[in-house]
């Protein structure tokens, strides 16, 4: 299923990232996964959290810009070629991966990967057909 990720615009100034994370911590928001894409002047903080509405409201109150983006979260067996296998499935049908980041899972033999892909419907279909482990919102909240 498609998961809604939060993206936050962060100026490349001292303390701006910390400020955003502070806001979330004050609201007791649990961050399930996090990644920062950076350029020379600013960054995009990408987050999978446990309560999108609450997080978005708190960040916007602090004048931060937040956008919701649909991503796929995939469970990958924790051994070599695990991720590569997934990427091959997508590449075979020409589906472009915009970005990707990984995080922890409570399961000992599983890595969890967040992906933004070009054609999310098609990608989901292909991965499901290949019996990949697509995580649901419930799965994520239970991590």
């Amino acid at each position: 299923m498609k998961i809604k990720q939060l993206s936050v615009f962060i100026e490349n100034k001292e303390g701006r990232l910390k400020n955003a994370l502070n806001v979330l911590s004050k609201e007791n928001i649990n961050i399930r996964a996090l990644s920062v894409a950076d350029s020379e002047k600013y960054g995009i903080l990408r987050l999978i959290v446990n309560d999108n509405e609450k997080a978005k409201k708190a960040l916007e109150k602090e004048n931060l810009i937040v956008k919701e983006t649909e991503v796929i979260v995939v469970g990958i067996p924790d051994k070599p070629n695990g991720l590569n296998h997934i990427l091959e499935i997508l590449e075979k049908d020409g589906i472009n991966v915009e970005y990707i980041y990984a995080f922890v899972s409570t399961k000992a033999d599983e890595a969890v990967v967040v992906m933004k892909i070009e054609d999310i419907e098609k990608g989901l279909k292909l991965l499901k057909e290949a019996n990949s482990t697509i995580l649901t919102r419930k799965d994520i909240n239970n991590l």
Partner: protein, 433 residues
């Protein structure tokens, strides 16, 4: 509606006759009562009697802000102290402030001037004016206030600041006319949207905005976010305050109250008077002012004069929207750039917030311009490449306007300083010594 038809729709020949008569009286009064003007005219070999036609005004040398600063505080007054009932000054941020003194009659005239502007908003006694121009030495607050009193509207003298209070007042008091700087109007529009209000939630019909330069694009943005017709008002402390020129709903230029102020356009380099329709520096002469008569004041504002009858029915001459000041002009790598041009380019791009700032530096041997624009929810993309593309598009649009390559940087919303008065758009860090 036209507040004063006899004055605002005067026949051209009658107007010229009136202007000449008033000019002659003003020059005589200034010569007889203001030492500065006596010396100015004596040094130029000109006597008040030498003003026989309107063109003879060109015999008189200009008055500049430097002259007014040198007369600080009261040396430009043409009447005894007891006749001055009110004083206003310029901000004094760039030097000694200039002082304007008003007699009771001057205040009546001021009220009449801004009342004409409220007429352009079809204001009646039933209208409620939320006046967010600063009340104090600044002329904005009181100028509008006197106009409101002249028409008999309900004036809410809220002055500047405390945006939450401003918006509560708009909602609770159901104000119908808003008066403030255009950047503040844009800010109120932003705030309303952020709080989840729609233009229909407020009762504003018109806005009268001035005290700083603004573009047509910015006007459209404000009209949309507040659901109003936004009119431009012009004035300066040295010559009276707001009301010297006000735009009618045709929005094709600002009507100068030319039965009280005589406008000329000159070439800022040579001082030569230019024909109507040519762009240059606005020079103003007061025709009826008693306390502080001013002759041929160089405003440094760049505009164009147009005569003839407007579609609204008024015959008072019009000036175009001010697009620059002869001293706000930036010289970047030898090219003349006005902040106005950059604003226009930014607004051409989709989804832009109206808040920006221009930084000019010279890190090495060449000038660099960086334009900081606040990111807005509409602009923000989850993908780095789209943000880069946006910056490049903005840079390209600016390049099309001014012919120079600039760096565009997206910054966090609210990170650029807001102003309840004039917005600071340009920070020039170059040291020219």
């Amino acid at each position: 509606m036209i507040w004063n038809e006899a004055a605002e729709c005067m026949d051209e020949e009658d107007k010229k006759e009136l202007q000449l008569s008033l000019l002659q009286q003003t020059v005589k009064r200034a010569y007889d009562n203001v030492p500065f003007y006596k010396k100015l005219l004596d040094d130029a070999g000109v006597k008040p009697e030498d003003i026989k036609t309107l063109k003879d005004i060109e015999k008189i040398p200009f008055t500049t802000k430097t002259d007014l600063r040198a007369a600080y505080p009261f040396k430009m007054f043409a009447v005894p102290d007891e006749e001055i009932v009110e004083i206003h000054t310029s901000s004094g941020t760039t030097g000694v402030p200039t002082v304007s003194g008003y007699t009771i009659k001057d205040l009546d005239i001021w009220g009449e001037m801004t009342a004409r502007g409220l007429g352009m908003c079809n204001a009646t006694k039933k209208d409620r004016i939320q006046n967010c121009y600063g009340y104090g030495l600044f002329t904005g607050g009181f100028g509008i206030h006197y106009g409101a009193r002249t028409v008999g509207c309900t004036v809410i003298p809220i002055s500047a600041g405390n945006t939450k209070r401003q918006v509560d007042t708009l909602l609770d008091f159901q104000s119908t006319i808003l008066t403030c700087t255009p950047s503040y109007a844009a800010y109120i529009g932003e705030y309303l949207k952020k709080e989840g209000y729609k233009p229909d939630d407020i009762s504003l019909k018109y806005g009268v905005f001035g005290a700083e330069m603004w573009t047509e694009e910015m006007r459209k943005g404000i009209e949309k976010s507040l659901g109003i017709t936004a009119l431009n008002i012009y004035g300066l402390t040295e010559v009276m305050g707001p009301g010297i020129a006000i735009e009618c709903p045709e929005q094709t230029g600002l009507h100068v109250a030319d039965d009280h102020f005589y406008p000329e356009i000159i070439d800022p380099k040579t001082g030569e008077t230019l024909p109507d329709g040519e762009k240059g520096e606005l020079v103003l002469t007061t025709l009826t002012r008693e306390g502080s008569p001013i002759i041929r004041f160089r405003t440094k504002d760049i505009t164009t004069l147009h005569k003839g009858k407007c579609a609204c029915g008024r015959t008072s001459c019009k000036i175009e929207r001010i697009t620059g000041r002869s001293d706000d002009m930036l010289k970047i790598r030898g090219v003349m750039v006005f902040p106005y041009q950059i604003e226009r380019a930014l607004f051409k791009t989709e989804g832009i917030e109206p808040t920006y700032q221009i930084h000019v530096t010279r890190p090495g041997l060449l000038d660099e311009i960086e334009v900081k624009v606040e990111a807005s929810p509409d602009m923000f993309s989850d993908e780095m490449k789209e943000l880069s593309t946006l910056e490049n598009t903005l840079s390209k649009n600016i390049h099309n306007e001014i012919g120079l390559r600039v760096n565009v940087t997206l910054v966090e919303p609210g990170s650029l300083p807001r102003s309840e008065g004039k917005a600071i758009r340009v920070i020039d860090e170059r040291n020219f010594e």
